[in-house]
Every structure is written in structure tokens, then in C-alpha cells.
């Protein structure tokens, strides 16, 4: 928080008193303004709120403690943020076509979004065919993954794999790499849905093992990757799910940091080296419309994480302190009414994320609120990033808002609020306990209701929804893109052929090995998943085996 100014500035007090008096005569609204995290916003910030004498304590230099200004010395000057758009729709062939188009346009950071059936732990033949491929690519086998990356150099890519536990997609990629003679040390990217706690909290669409089972699979995954796939980030701790589910920006940051502490403590307890696993921890956040609050959230999060690594875990290595994060503009803030307005919203959100020092960014397509994005809308989303980087020059100067009285004061206030929330989670026994008991889910639900109330009563303006409405419908847009049912039928036939032609003995041995490893609580579970993937076991079979051995995870019902 602010400490009093060290040096009285000549005339400061008199000018401030004069300004306050005039300000009060000119403003009628006595209600204090608050941001989404509930922090009161003053109309003006001055050196009384943040004093540059605090520079070395609060800010320092990018790339070193306290990390506020950025995690690398060169930040976006050295390397622009990665443009990482979510892709995935239809069959593996559809994915491969779209991937090659994206690579041809110069991208090297890609993503793979699987179908919801994959998220839920099923093969294509276990769900209603009408849903197949409507929200992501259907990938069930090593052969499907081979098709996804056909004619693409796996070693030249960094892939964000939307691959919740038990990480079958990465297992398939490793099997493909083996077939192609590519060493696993050259496989780079992130398992960016590995944070099972966030799935339990926010319910999204993921395959759920029991909490203890999930805990074990993730730990084995981190261990295996640290040793055998050392350039892969096995963990991305996700605040995005929580904020989309209704958490305030401060809550989302606090819960995410608490999850990261939980995972780090689990790793330490399993005997892993902090200097080895911490530099591979990454984070993933939502960026809402609350512009300065989001910037302050990211700056505060960076500072807190650096302090946790130094003080709680006793690590001085700056690589371990780096709060590397990917961010996505908030889908919840987009409106169906006058949908082109969403282009302006996304640009505002992306700007906040960039000024907040992100490493990688997904900008939402404006039509995400109408359907799975069309390609034309996705192009605008990509160009929004190009415009911000190359026309507006947002990456030209590191932490350009550093030293702003408002931003520094808000960063400190957000930091305090985040830490107070983290203390509450610590007092409840840590994140794992706080999620098992439903405490975090309840807090997020309460915040979601409170926000909705503010929209309903008009305190939170949503243009086109509760203000500046127009009578017309959503307006012109490109036609819906849905997977071709005939192609999906072929995909199902491919799956049946795959199962008929594989080596049954090898499949049985690998599945038995997986069940054995799970049942006896020894050996590395993810290694058993990798072996199974290579032996021709399908995604659905691997998930069913683990469900059987480790137990299903049930969502808490909190209406």
C-alpha cells in the first residue's frame, strides 16, 4: 500500500485541496466506484498513492525480482508474444488442412483443440454422432494424430495441446515422434489443460477422475515430462476457467496461485527438484473488459509468484520465478446483440493483456457468442493482434504503464486482495482441500451471481444488452461451419478399422500394464499411458481403464 511521500512537494497539499473542492462541486454521484474485484477507485491518483522512491522495492527491472515489469529482460522487444489461436473442428484431416494454412501464414505456435467427446474421455463411437467434431477435432488414436500432423515437422512447432489428464494427446504425439525418428527432447509445447483443480472448480467439459486419481496422474505426468520430454511444459495452471465461471479477477488470480502452490508442494513431496519443475510451470488467464484491473492483476500476479518462489520455496533461480502466461480474451464479455461490437471488445481486452506482459495470446472471434467461430471471424481476431503489435506498437516499450500512479496503486491494492484470498485458502488447508469441500466453487458462484445482478440492475453497462440497445437481430454473418456428416462417418469407420487391424496382444499387454500401474500405486502412470498409446490402445480405452481403477470424479452440485 502507499506509504506517505518522502519529500513534500512544494504546493502539493494546497493544489490537492483546491482540486478536491472543485471536483466535489462538479460531481454529483457520491456512490464510490468499484472495479470487478471490489476495489474502490479514486477519481485521481497522485504521488500520495504511489511514490517512485518505492521503485526498487515494487518494480525493479524486467527479468529479475520482484518481476513486476516483466519476466524477461527484453520482453516484447526481444520476442513478440506468440499468436496462438485455438484451432480444431471436424476430423483429423480437417485439422491438418487448417493447421497447414496457419503454418503457411507464418505461425509457429499452434494449438490443438479436441472434440468435447475427447474431453469427456470417450472415443467417437461412444457418443451421439451428431455432436462429433462440432467443437474440436476428433482424435482417438495414434493414427489420428499422425493425420493431424501429416506433412508437418513436429520438431519445428510449439503446440498448445488442450489435453486434460490422462494426457493421451501428448502420448499420441510422442508415439508419432517415435515413428518418425524425432527425439522427444525436440517436442515442445504445453499441456494446457492439465490443471485438474480448475476443472473441478469450473466444471467445464473435462474428463474427471476422482480428485486423488487426478492428483496422481498429473504428478506422474510432470515427472515423466521433466525427465523424458524436457522441453515440454507439463503444467499450465488455469485461472481462465474460474474467471469465465464468474470469479472476479482478484479471485481468479488468487485461486490460480493457490493451485500452483498446491502442485509445487505435491511435486516436492514426491521428491521432484524444484529447480527442475518450477521453470516448466506455466499459467493461463482470462482477460475481461475491466482494462486497468486486468493489467494490475497480471502485474500483481507476477510479483506474488516471484515472491512465493523465493520465500516459500526458497529458490533464487530467476527461471523458476518467471510467471509465464498465455491469456485469452473473455468470451463471457461478448454479446450476441450487435456482434460486430465484439471486435472492439476483443481489441480492448487484448490491449490489456499485452500491456500486462503476457507471453502468448488468443483473441476471440467476434462470433464466438453465436457459434463455434467461422474462419472469416477468426481472421479478424488474428489481425487484431497484428494491428496492436505492428500498427499501434504495443510491444515497443516494456511495461509502458509502470510508474503510473494509478496502475502502481491498483497493482498494490490487487496484490493485497489476492494475498488476502490466498490466506483464506491456506487457512482452509490449501487449494486441494478448499476444492474438495466446495469452498472455492461457492465463492465463484457468489461472484457470478453478484456480477449478473449488476448487469440486471444496470450498474454494469453492457452495450447493446442493457444500454444502447437496438431492435434488430444479430445481423449478417458467415454461414455456420459444421463438420461434414459423411466425413465423420468415414472417421468412425477408420476407428473401427484401426481397432480391427491393430495387434491385439500388444494392446492387451499395454492395457494390463496401465491397469496394474494404476491399481498398485507404483510405477509412472503417464509412462503407462504413453506405452498404451504407442501400442494402439485408443483414447477412450485408456480413459475407461483409469476410470475403473482410479474412480470417477463427480461434480459438486451447487445451484
Amino acid at each position: 500500500m502507499s506509504k506517505p511521500m518522502q519529500l513534500p512537494l512544494p504546493g502539493f497539499e494546497q493544489s490537492r485541496a483546491r482540486w478536491r473542492q472543485t471536483f466535489e462541486t462538479q460531481t454529483v454521484d457520491a456512490e464510490p466506484l468499484r472495479n470487478r474485484s471490489g476495489i474502490e477507485l479514486k477519481p485521481l491518483y497522485t504521488p500520495a498513492d504511489w511514490d517512485s522512491d518505492r521503485y526498487m522495492d515494487d518494480l525493479g527491472f524486467p527479468g529479475e525480482a520482484p518481476m513486476t515489469r516483466g519476466i524477461y529482460a527484453s520482453m516484447h522487444r526481444g520476442r513478440p508474444w506468440s499468436q496462438r489461436q485455438l484451432i480444431g473442428l471436424g476430423t483429423p484431416e480437417d485439422y491438418n488442412r487448417r493447421l497447414k494454412r496457419i503454418l503457411a501464414s507464418g505461425a509457429n505456435a499452434v494449438s490443438l483443440i479436441p472434440c468435447n467427446s475427447v474431453y469427456r474421455g470417450f472415443d467417437a463411437d461412444q457418443v451421439d454422432p451428431v455432436l462429433l467434431g462440432t467443437c474440436g477435432a476428433v482424435v482417438n488414436t495414434v493414427d489420428d494424430m499422425e493425420t493431424c500432423f501429416a506433412e508437418v515437422d513436429l520438431a519445428a512447432l510449439s503446440t498448445a495441446m488442450n489435453d486434460p489428464l490422462p494426457f493421451t494427446l501428448l502420448a499420441f504425439v510422442l508415439a508419432v515422434a517415435e515413428r518418425r525418428g524425432i527425439p522427444w527432447t525436440q517436442i515442445t509445447g504445453t499441456s494446457n489443460q492439465s490443471d485438474y483443480i480448475s476443472h473441478f472448480v469450473a466444471n467445464h467439459m473435462f474428463f474427471r477422475l476422482s480428485l486423488p486419481g487426478s492428483r496422481r496422474v498429473l504428478l506422474d505426468h510432470i515427472k515423466f515430462c521433466n525427465e523424458r520430454v524436457p522441453n515440454w511444459n507439463p503444467l499450465s495452471v488455469v485461472g481462465q476457467h474460474m474467471q469465465q465461471a464468474g470469479a472476479t479477477p482478484a479471485e481468479a488470480m488468487a485461486f490460480t496461485l493457490c493451485s500452483a502452490i498446491q502442485y509445487a508442494e505435491d511435486c516436492l513431496e514426491a521428491g521432484l527438484e524444484a529447480t527442475r519443475f518450477l521453470p516448466r510451470f506455466t499459467f493461463f488467464f482470462d482477460i475481461s473488459m475491466s482494462f486497468f484491473e486486468e493489467i494490475a492483476k497480471f502485474r500483481a500476479g507476477r510479483r506474488i509468484w516471484g515472491r512465493i518462489v523465493r520465500e516459500r520455496f526458497g529458490i533464487r533461480d530467476s527461471r523458476a520465478m518467471r510467471f509465464k502466461f498465455h491469456a485469452q480474451t473473455s468470451g463471457v464479455d461478448l454479446t450476441r446483440q450487435q456482434p460486430l461490437n465484439n471486435i472492439a471488445r476483443v481489441a480492448n481486452q487484448a490491449t490489456a493483456g499485452i500491456l500486462g506482459g503476457l507471453q502468448s495470446l488468443h483473441t476471440d472471434a467476434y462470433d464466438e457468442v453465436l457459434s463455434v467461430p467461422t474462419e472469416a471471424a477468426a481472421r479478424i481476431a488474428v489481425n487484431t493482434q497484428n494491428i496492436l503489435r505492428e500498427e499501434a506498437g504495443l510491444g515497443d516499450v516494456i511495461d509502458p504503464l509502470g510508474g503510473s500512479y494509478y496502475v502502481e496503486s491498483l497493482t498494490s491494492r490487487m496484490e493485497q486482495q489476492i494475498e488476502a484470498l490466498m490466506d483464506a485458502i491456506d487457512a482452509a488447508g490449501g487449494m486441494y482441500q478448499a476444492v474438495s469441500s466446495g469452498m472455492v466453487q461457492r465463492m465463484i458462484g457468489d461472484s457470478a451471481f453478484a456480477f449478473q445482478d449488476r448487469v440486471e440492475n444496470g450498474h454494469q453497462v453492457v452495450v447493446g444488452v442493457n444500454k444502447y440497445q437496438r431492435e434488430d437481430g444479430p445481423g449478417e454473418r458467415s454461414p455456420l461451419e459444421r463438420p461434414d456428416p459423411a466425413l465423420m462417418q468415414r472417421q468412425l469407420e477408420k476407428l473401427h478399422r484401426f481397432k480391427a487391424e491393430r495387434n491385439d496382444a500388444a494392446v492387451r499387454t499395454a492395457l494390463d500394464g496401465l491397469a496394474e500401474t494404476a491399481a498398485h500405486d507404483q510405477g509412472n502412470l503417464f509412462e503407462a499411458v504413453v506405452n498404451a498409446a504407442g501400442a494402439g490402445v485408443t483414447h477412450g480405452e485408456i480413459c475407461a481403464c483409469l476410470r475403473r481403477e482410479l474412480g470417477d470424479g463427480q461434480p459438486l452440485i451447487l445451484p
Binding site: D128, T134, N203, H204, F449, E456
Partner: protein, 138 residues
């Protein structure tokens, strides 16, 4: 709006997606409005929804769909019909493309709500449809 007996409604999600912010908020709206709300976790199977509707004697089923799960609804409508529950009204809310809205209404869904729908409209629609269902059942 309501008669003495409160409306009995089921709020749920079918299919593969679990985003439940919307279904939780709508359930709370309806409960605050005095209705009897049966709420389930996401990922329900259609036969389970039909059974629950039958056991709980609901008048309106509200389905939240954010990621194409509404494509299953024609099957829900058929299953309700097959179980002799034609009187039950079905409301859908979420990310529903216009093309699909027509398909849903043709399949017998009573109302489709999109993002930005207000509490007032949602509560009123459920109340009206519950009365309709009640008289259709008699």
C-alpha cells in the same frame, strides 16, 4: 402470475459440455421467483432427464447449451413423447445459432433464449409455460 401451486421446473445440461455458469444462474432466478427447481450437474443422458422429469412431475425443462449440445434436443423431445410426457414444455438457453433455433422450434422446443436474456423474460416464460403444461396435462 403463478397459481397457488408453484411451477415445477428442471434445469439441466445434456451431452458433453459442462459450462454451468448459465444454468446455475437461471436455476437461482427461478427459485427466487418461487418455483420448485430441480437442478442437476451437467452431462446428463437423455433417458435420465426423462426419468427425472417423470419422477419429479416437472412442468418445464430448461436446458442450457453452450457448445452444440442442443443438437441432441430433437432426441429429447422424441423421448419425452415416447414416455407420454408431451405436456412438458422445453426451454433452451445458451449459444444457439439462428439456423439451429428454427430446427429446435420445429422439433417442439417452446422457447430459445440467447445471451443477454433478462431475468424478467426468463422467469415469465417459465411461469407461462408451466401453466400451459399444467392445463395440457389435465
Amino acid at each position: 402470475m403463478l397459481t397457488d401451486t408453484p411451477a415445477r421446473v428442471l434445469v439441466t445440461k445434456v451431452g458433453l459440455d459442462g459450462h454451468d455458469r448459465g444454468s446455475r444462474i437461471v436455476a437461482a432466478y427461478l427459485r427466487d421467483a418461487g418455483m420448485e427447481v430441480i437442478y442437476t450437474s451437467p452431462w446428463q443422458q437423455i433417458p435420465a432427464v426423462v426419468n427425472l422429469a417423470l419422477q419429479e412431475d416437472v412442468e418445464v425443462i430448461g436446458i442450457s447449451s453452450l457448445a452444440t449440445d442442443h443438437l441432441l434436443l430433437p432426441k429429447l423431445m422424441d423421448a419425452l413423447g415416447a414416455a407420454g410426457l408431451d405436456h412438458i414444455r422445453v426451454v433452451v438457453g445458451g449459444i444457439i445459432p439462428d439456423e439451429d433455433e428454427r430446427m429446435l422450434l420445429d422439433a417442439g422446443v417452446s422457447r430459445v433464449f440467447h445471451p443477454g436474456a433478462t431475468r424478467e423474460d426468463i422467469v415469465e416464460a417459465f411461469a407461462t409455460l408451466a401453466l400451459e403444461a399444467r392445463s395440457a396435462a389435465e
